[in-house]
Every structure is written in C-alpha cells, then in structure tokens.
Amino acid sequence: MAHFEIKDLGFEYPTSMGKPTLEGINLTIERGEYVTFCGRSGSGKTTLLRHLKSVLAPHGKLSGEILFSGKPLEDASLREQSFKIGYVMQNPDNQIVTDKVWHELAFGLESLGYDQKTIRLRVAEMASYFGIQGWFYKDVAELSGGQKQLLNLASIMAMQPEVLILDEPTSQLDPIAAADFLNTVKKINRELRTTIIITEHRLEDIFYASDKVVVLEEGRIIAADNPRKVGEFLKDEKHFMFAAMPTPVQVYYGVPNEEICPLTVREGGEWLDKIFVEKEVKVSAVDEANAFCEEDIAQPAVELKEVWFRYEKNAPDILKGVSLKVPKAELFAVVGGNGTGKSTMLKSICGICRGYRGKVWINGKRLEKYKAAELFYENLAMLPQDPQSLFVKKTVKEDLQEMLARKEQDRAEEITKVAEICEITHLLERHPYDLSGGEQQRVALAKVLLTKPKILLLDEPTKGIDNFFKLKFAEILDKLKKQGITIIMVSHDVEFCAKYADTVSMFFDGGIITTNTPHKFFSKNSFYTTAANRMSRHIFENAITNEDVIYLCQKNL
C-alpha cells in the first residue's frame, strides 16, 4: 500500500483570482521512498508539501483527495498526524519554540502528553543519535544555524514520524552545515526507513540519493521519475530547470556520448575517464586572464591595511591584520568558511565595526574623514545578509520610495529605472514579506541601489536563492559593473564566484590568505573548489565551470 497517494489534487488561493496554484496533481509515494521536489520559486512546491499535513494546509479551494496509508488524510486526527508526519521548515530560528535545547527536544512529546519516563528515554535517544549531547543544556540562542536546524530535525524525529517532510531546510545554512544536515536526512531514510519528501535548490547533495525526482511547473507535475530520466527529460525539453541540475549531469548533456549519465563527482570523473580512454588530450586548458597582481592597482576603490578588530576588550580578535586592495569596477569575491570573519570585514569597510588598529581607505580617502551622510550617499552601500532587515513598509513601492528624500518625490522615474534593472517591476504592489527569497534579494538590492553607490558590498547574496534566480542576479551584477560600480561580495557559493567573479580571495583566520583570478585560484585548490574542477582536474588543467569542462571536451573529441 502506498504511503501517500495524491489523486487529482487541485488548489486555489482565495486571492489568486481563478489561477490555480496546484492543478491535476497525481502522485504515489511508497513507504521509505526518498522523493525530491524541484521547480523554481512560486511553482507550488511549498503549497503542495503543506497539503500533506492538514494542520499546515493553507486555506483555499481544494479539489481531489490525499490518501495517507490508504485512508483520507483529513480522517487522521491532529494527534495522529502530529507524530506520524514530521515537517521541517525553512527558517531555522523561527521554528524553535523554547529557550533550551533539551526542552525543545521534548516539546512535541510534552504536547502529546507522554509521561516523564518516556520523554526522558526518547530525548536521550535523539540526543545520542544526532550527536547533541555536547550542547544538550545550552540556550538555543547560542547555537549556530546548522545546529539549530539539526535541533529542529531531532525534535521532530523524537516523535518517531513515519514521514518526514522538509521544505528547503538548508536554504539558510552554509554549504558545510547544509551537507551535514542532508547527510543526516539520508541516514534517517536509510537506517529507519522513514519516508522523505524534500524540496531543495541545492540538488548536488540530494539528487543522486533520491528515488524519485518530481519537477513542478506552475502548479503541475511535468516530470516524476528517477534522477537520470528526469535529467534526460529536462535536457530534451530544453527546460530552464536544467540549470538546477548537478554539475555532472549538466556536463554530461553538453558532450555528445553514449555512456550512462553520472550523478556525483566520482561518477563524473569516471565518466570523463571513459570518454577519454585511448584518446589524446590536445587542449588541456582554457585561455585565462593574467594573474592578479596587487601592485598593479593604481587607484583601488577600497583599500584595507592591517586592520585589527574585536568586539570587546577581552574577546578574541576577529580580524587579524586584514590587508586588501579592490580594483575599481570589478566583482571582487571573498570566500572562506563560517565564522572566519568575512562578514566582519565587510562591516569594517563600511564603518559599522571600527578596527582598533590599521587603516581603511574608500576611494583614496580615509574612512574616518567621511561624514556618515557623505559615506552612504552616492558612495558606499551594503546589502545585508538577511534582506528582510531592510524592509520597513507595506509594499515594495513604498519601501523604495522611503529611500528618496521628501522633496525628491519627483524622482519617481528613478524607482521605475531601478525596478527595471532589478526586474521587480511586477512586484511593486506586493508586500515584501510575501516574496520568495530570490525576489526579496532583488528588492533589497533595488533599495540599496537608490543610494546610487559607487561601491556595493554584498554579504552572502546568493544564500537561499535557486539557480534560476542566481543567473538573473549575475546578470544584474554584470549590468552594475558596466556602469562602473565596484562590487565586493562575501560568499560561500564557490560555483557562483568561479563563474562570475573577476577576482577571488580566500579568507581564513581573520585575514586574506591569497587573492587571484578565479581560474588560477580554484584550479590550485583541491578541496575548496567547484564540482566541475574536482571532476575534471585529473584531465584538464584549469577547468572550473561547467562551461569550461564542456568546451574542453568538445575541443578534444
């Protein structure tokens, strides 16, 4: 008997005016299956997932039916659904209810009215299985994002659910924490036979593990099959979702060959071996720009010289002598692990964190010499990590208008212009909180651009955005660069930096370790590099993007 059976499901929000959000959904999910839903933002993924748990289902016009273990889902009581169907949401912070880790683990069991002894045992089990013992007594506020999301997962698993539904659980996490989290989900699926239903942008980490991949578009299922078949389908359809496929799949379909489609980096490497067997590699490197040379920069947009910073007198140093020169009108990316001080460096450039030693120059003038009004108008602006912290009004339009001084209301055409650049014209009347992550990011960018900055600082701009939006975002950055704006970006997103940055720096232990062009930078690294590079480094010298690998394969075959 199927675990979930969705029969001809249709759904319409009361506000959508005749345009259904879901339409004709038919899907069977077997017990113990790992099912991945993909589709661009707004394709109805979250709406569909929420319908699989009655208490979270949105209000609106529903048609069709959902069977859970052969019985209609709505017949299962709140209590039964609570412990049989677990649901992990996007935001690690807001899902946590209590203030202590141990209390959060027990919360669901308390709600269901278990006695002290049972709860103690279950909590102990969960803490051991998820490796939480070390921080069992901590305040939840002290945890990192990855730990918080793991806690959310553990506190749901404590109720021993049969099905685990995860709605973009790693969109707010850094890549290492995300991979950790997804590995735990995989482990749960393998070891406990828990059915997994998940949506994700980061398909690299889950695509190969899925039994079934379901592609949604405008509320309809356009493909539901095993990963290889879905890859083939999207390629044949020339579908835009193909851009979200993992690197090996994209490269595979860029090169004419007869082999089986690889899904992981390892399979990708083996596949390259096979197609190059007994063939000579004539061209082994792509052309690249000259190596980055800091001395060549005559007039840097931003210069840091041995900046030291710590938050309190007795706290450890966060920045330990950062020196940096950023050339004008370039996209300068800084990559590095969590908590190394990347974001603090950005804050020290815009003066939120003042270093206690060292100097900062903005356009050749000392940071201290600027007045605040001067510094943040037509000069420097920062897009914060969480775009929501910039939204203060009820609609996007009002939010943008806030940026214009009162007497400048006639500059309305400027808003139109900026909205066009950021492609948010159709969103102007919406509430900023109702937008998807990628849309919020662009609205926040538009707001920042209204200060007409010459230097733009971006803190993790690609966090929580799907690949499709990333392409758009990259286009916008390119437009800005052409207008002469210098962009400094701090990111975990290695693939994005490899593809679009002009210069990449590695940040570690409070300082810049090395700076170079993406090709030179990533082809020298062996761990901290792109999937395309890891897959092809034994054959090609400096292929770092999918396009590089495809290009070199085509040259040689």
């Binding site: 748990k53 208490v55 979270l56 009581s77 709140l78 609570s82 412990f83 677990g86 949401m89 935001n91 912070d93 807001n94 899902q95 946590i96 209810v97 209590t98 203030d99 202590k100 209390h103 027990a106 919360f107 669901g108 069991l109 308390e110 709600s111 269901l112 009215g113 278990y114 006695d115 002290q116 709860i119 909590v123 007594y137 939840v140 506020a141 109720m159 804050k347 815009c350 939120i352 605040a372 009004a373 943040f376 108008y377 420097l380 602006a381 920062m382 914060p384 929501q388 912290s389 910039l390 939204f391 203060v392 009004k393 806030e402 940026m403 909180y433 707001k447 920042v448 200060t451 600082l457």
Partner: protein, 295 residues
C-alpha cells in the same frame, strides 16, 4: 569554586531562598542580622565575578541608609546633635538605620546569588506545575526577548549602511528612522510568530493533555537536605515565637538578651540554615581534595 548547591533539586534551592529572604526581612535582632549579613556575603562572594566592586557598592549603600535614617526618624532618648531649628538626631534612630541598612544589603545579596542559582528553567520548573500555560508562555518570552533585541541591532546596522542611521540627522529624521526600525521589527516578529505557531501545531500543540518534562531528578541527598532544612525552619520559628528574636530600637533599645536561651538557640539554628549553600560547596571541595590525595 564549583557551585554544588545549585546542582540540588530546584525545590531545595527555592525553599532555601524563600526561607533566607523571609527571615532576612523579619528578623531584626542584631545577632540574627550578623548571621545573615555574614553568610549571605560568604555565599555570594564564592560565586561572583566582580567581588571588590560589589562589596564597595554595598558598603556605600549601607552607610547611606544607616546615616540618613535619623534625618527622617526623630524618636529616641539619646540625642547626638540637634540641627535645623531643633530637629534631633538620635542614637536609637541611628541604630535602627543600621539595622535597616543591614537588612537591605542582605536581601539584595541573597537576590544576587538567587539570580545565579535559580536559572529561568529552574524557576519555570517550580511554578510550571501550577500554571502550565503561563510557564510555556514565559519560556517563549525568555527566548523571544533576546531575539528581538538582536534583530533590532541587525535592522539598525542594515539601515545605517544605506544612510538611514538613527545616530545623525535632525531630531525629526532620527525619530522617523527609529520608528521605521520598530515597524520593521514588528513585521519581522509577526512573521516569525506565524512560523512558530505552525511549528507548535505541527508538533501536536493543542491536541490535549500536555505534560511537562524536566531534566531534574529528586535524589536521596535532596531528601536529606529537605529534612534538615524543615527541622531548622521549625526550630527558628519556634524560637522566634518564644520571643528569642525580640528587638525594638525606638524610642528605647530593647533586645532579647544572650541569657535568653531561645535567642542563642535561634541564632544557632539560623546560622546553620543560612550556611547550607556555603557548607555544601565547601564539603564538596574537601571531598575532592581527599579523593585526590588518595590516588
């Protein structure tokens, strides 16, 4: 020093503090006061970070309260000096002031160590059984208040970087920017609240029959200490009822004397009771010294 007393069951901690503070506020006999001042400070000093600063502040507070009391209280027989058209500054009022001041700093010091020992979750554990809904609400407040504070900081610095700082501009602009931060916080909090509510309901909140889980266990050492504390409390109450702690300061100082056996018995009970946390900690320390020396 490791705080062993706080590792006892929350009820033991709570009972001790209720006893210490109630007795601290009603017992005005100098012998009892001496006990409470000395032992309250002894325990707090073992836990506190900034000892000398705290001691200095308490000394100042003591002197201010003690010496200003006679300015407001003029009864008493022995006049020290007369000021401002015949107002009197009496010895009795001064003594009474010192007693009040001692009481004052004792209770403050008990509260200071209470804050270290009785963490929010212990407090909730003690009162959660009486009012489960209120206790959950409080837990959430403990979580949300610091979260809101952090978010305000984040919004303010995000806005500063687009030139909307609350630190400069005209007063009107400052107020406007401050309001914007608050309104942004409100939307953010509201959004977060919806997610939290979903998360609660999806974990069966409201399905009825909620229980309350705790990580505390009632052990034999808790039983032993409870028994001792109850005996002492009844002992103290008995002695006080017999007039062992009688003290009057104005208009004439009358104290229950040392010859009164209820007084010295009461002081001994009181002293033992108040030294429980300190002795528990010291005993643990000694035990480890002995264990170490055996190896």
């Amino acid at each position: 020093m490791k705080n062993t007393f706080s590792a006892y069951h929350p009820f033991i901690n709570l009972l001790f503090y209720i006893g210490a503070m109630v007795f601290g506020m009603i017992l005005m006999h100098p012998a009892f006061l001496l006990c409470s001042v000395a032992l309250a400070f002894a325990y707090y000093m073992a836990l506190a970070n900034q000892k000398s600063k705290y001691l200095f502040r308490m000394l100042v507070l003591f002197l201010v309260v003690a010496f200003t009391n006679p300015f407001f209280n003029h009864s008493g027989e022995k006049i020290l000096f007369i000021y401002m058209n015949g107002r009197v500054y009496t010895l009795e009022a001064l003594c009474y002031g010192m007693v009040l001041a001692a009481m004052f700093i004792t209770v403050i010091t008990w509260f200071a160590s209470y804050n270290i020992v009785m963490t929010s979750d212990k407090f909730l554990y003690c009162f959660g059984r009486l009012l489960p809904a209120v206790s959950l609400l409080l837990t959430m407040v403990f979580r949300f208040v610091p979260a809101y504070k952090r978010q305000i900081g984040q919004i303010a610095s995000a806005r500063k970087c687009i030139g909307k700082s609350t630190e400069n501009g005209t007063a009107l602009q400052k107020a406007e920017h401050g309001m914007a931060v608050l309104s942004a916080l409100a939307s953010w909090a509201f959004e977060g609240g919806i997610v939290a509510a979903d998360s609660m309901r999806s974990r069966g909140f409201g399905s009825g029959g909620r229980t309350s889980f705790s990580v505390y266990r009632w052990e034999s050492r808790d039983r032993g200490l409870l028994f001792l504390m109850l005996v002492l409390i009844f002992g103290i109450i008995g002695c006080v009822a017999k007039g062992g702690a009688y003290a009057a300061y104005t208009p004439k100082i009358v104290l229950a004397g040392i010859d009164n056996r209820y007084t010295w018995m009461g002081v001994i009970f009181y002293g033992i009771f108040l030294s429980i946390p300190t002795v528990v900690n010291l005993a643990e320390e000694c035990k480890w010294l002995i264990l170490k020396s055996k190896i």
